[in-house]
Symmetry: C2
Subunit: 215 residues, 2 copies
Amino acid sequence: MKIGILGTGMVGSALATKLVALGHEVKMGARDAANPKAADWAKSVGAKASHGTFADAAAFGEIVFNCTSGAGSLDALKAAGAANLRGKVLVDVANPLDFSRGMPPSLFTGANDSLGERIQKAYPEARVVKALNTVNATVMVDPHRVPGISDLFVCGNDAAAKAEVTRILKEWFGWPVVVDLGDITAARATEAYLLLWLRLWGTFQTADLNVHVVH
Amino acid sequence: MKIGILGTGMVGSALATKLVALGHEVKMGARDAANPKAADWAKSVGAKASHGTFADAAAFGEIVFNCTSGAGSLDALKAAGAANLRGKVLVDVANPLDFSRGMPPSLFTGANDSLGERIQKAYPEARVVKALNTVNATVMVDPHRVPGISDLFVCGNDAAAKAEVTRILKEWFGWPVVVDLGDITAARATEAYLLLWLRLWGTFQTADLNVHVVH
């Protein structure tokens, strides 16, 4: 499959590298076509890896992952272009973290709002699925870094898109449990969970951590 | 031990009943001394149970549990009186839920804020420990309603108070894992987690649910 990755940070790199390793063609997008991190990544990963602008990556992908920082996501998607996202599954991995007051960050979204919803509202023809935002980049593509069983969450308004993302998470990345929390408004919950994740990270001093829902 | 319970709802009743069953003397406090729910509770539970105003319950308790609704907590604590809380462990079980826009609720606290912090700031001589707010009332005092192992979180500024609450949670209520998340600002995280809890409740259609942190 052809996959577009928006963002050149740890999340984008981890997902892009894993997807190439799984045999897919991946284009990493950045604001500038000459972004050196994207260029270095593509060079190091091989023939199935390429890079370009946000628009290039979005146009290339049959599925697109938003791996930009939360504060920059809407600008990045604007650069990617609505036409390049139309009808596609857009996996939103970003979190609306506000670092302006130091660590740990807060959320910039406020009540009854989430980044996932803002993205779905701004790109109504994209099929937004919020996923993977509740674990560290290294864990996203290697869930067994965390001992035992732990869970991922998906939410979104398009059932078929959620089913496709769930299949990718389970079959490609090896996630044992993927919980469907409902429509995109559930992004309020999984994004807010980041505040707990950050405290757990501080407490246990490892990013190889996650939660398992018991019921 | 003499324990004061502020609030007559499901949380207050569950904790008060369990604490009496464990052999403690418990006074349930409400706005009005003649609150019929508190009176019925005390009558049904027996000699070690009593009821009165918020001030009566706070004065009675060597340790005090805030089990009022989040929106009413600061008013209830004002009625309880700073003098009756001074130097005492105050376990804050409430969540800052805003139901004004229907279900699921949002939080009324906003970024860089939490109900736990507001309470600690308003009552600097109380030793506030945020705890038990991440599970349903029935699970608080009976963790084995949830299969396997799941976790509770505590936070607060007073290490001795947290140690005492942790002992109560483990030895009295049977919690297998109690995670200390740090100072009272971590209440931002455990209160925000409620948004996820509510979605999980909707998904799994049971309140007998919790999370286990894996790392």
